[in-house]
Symmetry: C2
Subunit: 233 residues, 2 copies
């Protein structure tokens, strides 16, 4: 861990409040590595031997069920801490993390987790805060799955993606990594067919533009209305 730009790292949420010296102690124990697009950072069920900080890129967190269904738990962007299995009382990873684009991560041996959290309570607190935030998001998703129709859920998912990792393009807000209909289906508990139909209808309405593994939102406001179940404006 020598040639990574610290000024960026220092501002990441997990390190909030830490002194530069403390930061040094933590960072000098880390290794950085590149994860090419579509390669896993870690895999579900594997021994949780390392934890990671995403320095650049986006990862897709995926769970696979016994009967072969895949569910996208979430996308995580730059600055996210991932793979902290012990924080939720596990020794294996509960999900796989796949690079959605080329990524750069820092990683630490998991053996350092108890040590670092004990020595740097702020680091621990920040990490746990991330877990708490994920709990809240997940809970919101439960509510959505329980009470909202598919169209609203898909609209919401697209909006969330755009907000989290959207980029302005000439046509509107572009989701900044390849995402298929299947992916959106796995985020919303539906099928790629239904997603395709919905995206098509939205495209007819002029709310989005979409192509192969690409979605651009041209009328976010309208899409928000849809996500609230108000189909017409």
């Amino acid at each position: 861990m020598a040639r990574i730009d610290r000024s960026l790292i220092a501002h990441m949420d997990v390190f909030a409040g830490l002194s530069p010296d403390d930061l040094d102690v933590i960072l000098e124990r880390a290794n950085s590595s590149r994860i090419p697009k579509y390669k896993p950072v870690f895999e579900q069920e594997a021994e949780a031997s390392r934890f990671f900080l995403l320095l650049d890129g986006t990862v897709r967190v995926v769970q696979t069920t016994k009967d072969g269904h895949q569910i996208i738990a979430r996308y995580l962007g730059t600055g996210s801490i991932i793979g902290i299995a012990p924080a939720i009382g596990r020794t294996t990873y509960p999900a796989s993390a796949i690079a959605a684009v080329d990524c750069v991560v820092l990683c630490w041996p998991m053996a350092l987790w108890p040590e670092l959290t004990a020595r740097f309570p702020l680091f621990a607190a920040n990490s746990y805060k991330a877990v708490g935030a994920r709990l809240q998001e997940t809970q919101e998703r439960v509510i959505e799955l329980s009470v909202a129709q598919v169209e609203q859920r898909v609209a919401n998912a697209v909006l969330r993606l755009v907000r989290q990792i959207g980029r302005k393009s000439e046509d509107g807000l572009l989701i900044d990594f390849p995402i298929s209909r299947q992916d959106i289906a796995e985020m919303t508990g539906t099928t790629l067919h239904t997603v395709s139909r919905l995206l098509s209808s939205w495209e007819d309405l002029g709310v989005i533009k979409s192509g192969r593994q690409k979605v651009t939102v041209t009328d976010p406001h309208r899409l928000m209305l849809i996500s609230e179940g108000k189909k017409d404006g």
Copy 2:
């Protein structure tokens, strides 16, 4: 906090690993109180002014959406720590907690949360572990809502309830607090009608017995098959 039996408390998960002295310090700051059946321990959106340890009973954690839908996030039993909003980065309670039966709780002013977690890292870690466990459960629920049919979800919910807070009765495993069809519907993202139909059909099969706000599982194994989508045995 004087007349509560410490031997029971000392064995609760949140206090695992703490010395008796540390435990004393924590407990002497607490107040105990009785929450009668159906009364709230705390309410969604309210300022999170206190956190609680459930000494006896069962609480129902409920979220209400803007459009008036209720969702039961989970049931928590004796030994659960609840209302720790700051652990997930909030200053208000994200949900309401309602006593499902007469309950006894300990409570601390929220102002003590930073102090106690800082002073007793094991207490902090145990609390955060609880958050982590809830994240995992919630995530599993997302998966279930995404891929499983209503019948499987309801079967699973009943099994979970029985496991968590079931009591042996002459007929089988009884869910040990009043639970309505509506409640089960709010746990599984369906309607009381559908739940009623399912329970009726299971009763015909001899898998359960049920009455007003009461469910007894007589054939857990069969119910498990149903929850796995294998309707026949």
